[in-house]
Symmetry: C2
Subunit: 136 residues, 2 copies
DNA sequence: CGGTATCCTTTGCGATACTG
DNA sequence: CAGTATCGCAAAGGATACCG
């Protein structure tokens, strides 16, 4: 499928993007998906690998991903118990466009920060004349 | 000293994806970007084109996109005033991977919903034995 | 080890009213 | 037309404690 194909803004396509983002657009889901891209990980590995995530949020994030069929949860009832998480085929297919977004992020995040710094710096009590302003 | 440096799964890529998502992963940004993909729009057009968005949130969303250098805001001081919003080059470059995610959404959102329905249906008062469970 | 349960603060966002 | 100001609720998410 041609990824550059035009999607009219009134089409259900935009709504679908929004719905997908409302699922994986939270604070941690993408990090989990990225971390599971290469191989499965157990709970504690994910917890240590994702800096700053709380146990509670890792659990919730994984539950939601499992609910959406993006990851599998495999319980090995040993002592101590072991639980492994792995991307499903669906999860892997999602990881691709997410990775594309990641590539964009790597290339352009600096520009975002620069633009933000510029915007914030200029925003203070400047009183430009009544001419047309073009802010970018 | 960076305490996170020794953690192997901490590639900068993942962090950057997160930062980008924390910017455009809100409820409305992607809708605005998608709507501006083809041509510029004025405020009221965006408001009417994006179903359900409040005036306040459209303003805030546009401000943040402008701050990040993703859209330009062009004021024409006529009466009544006219303000046009347009994607920058940076904004257009972001629209591409977002579009890729949109394509994925079109193809797979139904599977997400189906998986969710399955998960929700099965979740109630099942008491599986101590055997290994594989949930997908 | 891999969770739940509870509490509490922060953030997001809609509704409404007002303005140049 | 294109905002800004204020309010208030609801969801997100962190901290901590407890459990099989």
């Amino acid at each position: 499928m041609d990824v550059t194909a035009r999607i009219p803004h009134h089409s259900p396509a935009c709504m679908k993007v929004s719905q997908v983002l409302s699922r994986i657009g939270d604070k941690w889901s993408v990090l989990v998906i990225m971390m599971l891209r290469e191989r499965s990980h157990r709970f504690s590995e994910l917890k240590r690998g994702i800096d700053g995530i709380s146990q509670r949020m890792l659990t919730l994030t994984l539950r939601n991903l499992e609910r959406d069929g993006l990851v599998t949860r495999t319980v090995t009832p040993s002592i101590p118990p072991r639980v492994d998480y792995e991307l499903t085929d669906l999860g892997h297919s999602l990881a691709e466009p997410v990775q594309a977004l990641g590539a964009w992020a790597i290339q352009h995040l600096a520009q975002l920060d620069a633009a933000r710094a510029r915007y914030d710096a200029q925003g203070r009590d400047l009183e430009p004349g009544p001419e047309m302003t073009r802010t970018a």
